[in-house]
């Protein structure tokens, strides 16, 4: 399995009137070909900004201030805007959280699919329309010919998200980024969309980056996971390992704080709140909320250290802590 996307020490800051928001502050990770990777973190952890930066679409006042991004070994940052347009959609497809705002309400969904198809392929309108119908069929929409002429408001939330996925697939990307793709959907519809994403990954041999705050989705959908906290990587590992024995106190605390459907155990809340990224805490950014915090955690930023095979942890004390869940 080759490496598809590599993000190396990425820094993206937002220059606001209140100060510089260090939304992404030195994040590194890689996605292999055909591998479903999860980016998990709470709001403000930098998960969305990281992938937007990879595609070169960070909105002002945001700016990439450091780091490199490679796609199949080729550096993307050096590319011109014209070249980047070929990366977006053709190499990396993006499905956003909210299909209500990502689809244009003024055009039928068919037009929106055709537009993307014709951006990436030299096809006539009729050919592109045919391809659009196939795409809708691929994402499991019944009567695709008729649906091509439907406006977004005529579709249900689940169908709109399917259309958004179809559009992201229109350029036949090698990597699909799904940013909280099911947050706005009901659970039974969420199950349909997840099933679709899983099958598409296998069928099209496409890599997937799933961005979510839901540890349940991570467990179900991914093989590797990067845990983000306040713009930094807390931990990266194979998914099964993270759940079996988390090495970063934040990961462990997160797992202990989410209610589970299959058992009723006492919830252990994480104290405090998410830090302000204009003035992040010194040292380890999790230290004000960490139960294992020591002086060193306040003074020094912990390095991202190797903690096993393809396993990285950013904690001063990971060697001495046993964070496995007590059964």
């Amino acid at each position: 399995m080759g490496e598809l996307l590599r993000v190396d020490d990425l820094k993206t800051y937002f220059f606001t009137e209140a100060g510089v928001v260090k939304a992404v502050d030195g994040i590194s990770f890689a996605v292999n070909e055909g591998e479903p990777l999860g980016l998990v973190g709470e709001s403000g952890s930098g998960k969305t900004v990281t992938v937007l930066a990879a595609m070169g679409i960070v909105a002002k006042p945001g700016r990439i201030v450091g780091g490199k991004i490679f796609f199949k070994g080729e550096e993307l940052q050096a590319s011109s805007e014209k070249e980047m347009r070929k990366v977006r959609g053709k190499k990396i497809g993006y499905v956003s959280q909210d299909p209500n705002s990502s689809l244009d309400p003024l055009y039928p969904v068919g037009n929106q699919l055709v537009e993307v198809v014709r951006t990436h392929f030299d096809e006539t309108k009729a050919e592109a329309w045919e391809r659009g119908v196939k795409l809708l069929k691929l994402v499991g929409i019944s009567e695709p010919e008729a649906r091509m002429k439907a406006y977004p408001h005529e579709l249900s939330g689940g169908m709109r998200q399917r259309v958004a996925i179809a559009r992201a697939l229109a350029g036949e990307p090698e990597l699909l980024v799904a940013d909280e793709p099911t947050t706005n959907l009901d659970v039974t519809i969420q199950a349909q969309v997840l099933d679709l994403l899983r099958n598409l990954g296998k069928e099209l041999q496409m890599s997937l980056i799933l961005i979510t705050h839901d540890m349940g989705l991570i467990a179900e959908m991914t093989e590797r996971v990067v845990v983000l906290y306040a713009g930094k990587v807390a931990e990266e590992s194979a998914t099964a390992e993270v759940f079996r024995s988390p090495k970063h106190p934040y990961t462990a605390a997160l797992l202990a704080s989410v209610p589970r459907l299959d058992q009723k155990a006492a919830l252990v809340p994480i104290g405090g709140g998410i830090p302000n990224l204009i003035n992040p805490p010194t040292g380890c950014r999790f230290n004000p909320r960490c139960t294992y915090s020591k002086q060193i955690c306040v003074d020094n930023v912990p390095p991202l250290e190797e903690a096993g095979e393809r396993r990285l942890v950013s904690c001063h004390r990971w060697k001495e802590l046993d964070l496995r869940r007590k059964a």
Partner: protein, 331 residues
């Protein structure tokens, strides 16, 4: 089971749908938001009300508090019909009833007035209900803040100075200010960050144990419902589909919709593989709900009888109510 505090009987609420012309307004149908809902809540009990969007769970909460008028049905609170009380009684009695039933809303960013200090927000019920002497306000507000895990000095601040979780604590303190016996909590954690949710869920559970307040916990998040509820009601398109003690419902669901709902929830444990039931299609429109059992177009077990006859909510085993023609098959 504990003595019941609240009894909801055959509650119905339709919202009319109009087609507007230039000058005319024609009624073209009804949204069947809740269509004959019956359940009870015991003293000191949390009842979880779950369902997907549009199933009528929020409307149920609002109709119980008469924030929305019901079309028919009754709600007994402590044995008294609340609609009769609100219509015919004296102002004092009406206020007393209002004091005993409160609500916590979903979005703590929208439900707190940004121009009021926390002190003003929490003491506003005292202004309206006049049940606390002016001289005692300060002490009361401070003790309410303490109850929800905030500090005295927070009273002088404004809502924007607080995080989402803290704001939700403030709105819980406001609900507690009238010393209610019953609180409707409508999705109280769904707009909060994951690491904060546990704080609020634990607070609700702690309050219930300490004060004996009953809760109607409305949520689409089944995991959190399991965490805080003693009994759970599952709603689909305005109807109660299943109503049972929490472990009974989660471990031995008897309605195919409940089964599908439970199987669809991702469990944060990669080594646990559940068999997923994937339902076809979407939730039908509540304007024209399907005939017979409202779930039959999506149900994997649907038979002819399901299309024609609506299954009644019937008892199967102790305390387990289910609305399905074939519930015995799943027992």
């Amino acid at each position: 089971m504990a003595e019941s505090l609240l009894e909801v009987q055959d509650l119905v609420k339709y919202f009319p749908v109009y087609q507007r012309g230039i000058l005319t307004k024609k009624k073209v149908g009804d949204v069947h938001a809740i269509d004959g809902v019956t359940f009870s809540i015991g003293k000191g009990e949390t009842l979880g009300l779950v369902g997907e969007s549009g199933c009528g769970k929020t409307t149920t909460g609002k109709v119980i508090l008469e924030l929305e008028e019901r079309d028919s049905g009754t709600v007994l609170f402590g044995g008294k019909d609340i609609y009769a009380t609100l219509k015919t009684s004296s102002r004092e009695e009406r206020l007393a009833l209002r004091r005993s039933m409160q609500m916590v809303f979903q979005n703590p960013y929208g439900s707190l007035d940004p121009r009021m200090t926390v002190f003003d927000i929490i003491s506003e019920p005292f202004v309206i209900h006049k049940h606390i002497q002016r001289s005692e306000w300060e002490g009361r507000v401070y003790s309410l803040l303490k109850m929800v895990g905030l500090e005295e000095y927070h009273a002088e601040r404004y809502p924007h100075e607080f995080s989402g979780g803290q704001r939700q604590r403030i709105s819980i303190a406001r609900a507690l200010a009238t010393e209610p016996r019953f609180i409707v909590a409508d999705e109280p954690v769904s707009s909060l960050d994951v690491s904060i949710r546990a704080q609020i869920l634990n607070l609700l559970e702690d309050l219930r144990k300490r004060t004996g307040i009953s809760f109607l916990y409305i949520s689409h998040d089944l995991s959190s419902v399991r965490q805080v509820s003693q009994r759970v009601a599952v709603m689909y398109l305005g109807k109660i589909f299943e109503f049972a003690p929490v472990d009974d419902l989660f471990d031995h669901p008897l309605n195919p919709y409940t089964m599908a709902l439970l199987s669809a929830v991702p469990i944060p444990d990669p080594e646990r593989h559940t068999k997923r039931i994937i339902l076809p299609g979407d939730v039908p429109s509540p304007v024209n709900p399907p005939s017979g059992c409202r779930f039959h177009p999506r149900c994997p077990y649907a038979a002819e009888v399901c299309k024609n006859e609506e299954p009644p909510l019937r008892q199967l085993g102790t305390d387990h109510l289910v609305a399905c023609h074939f519930a015995e098959k799943f027992a």
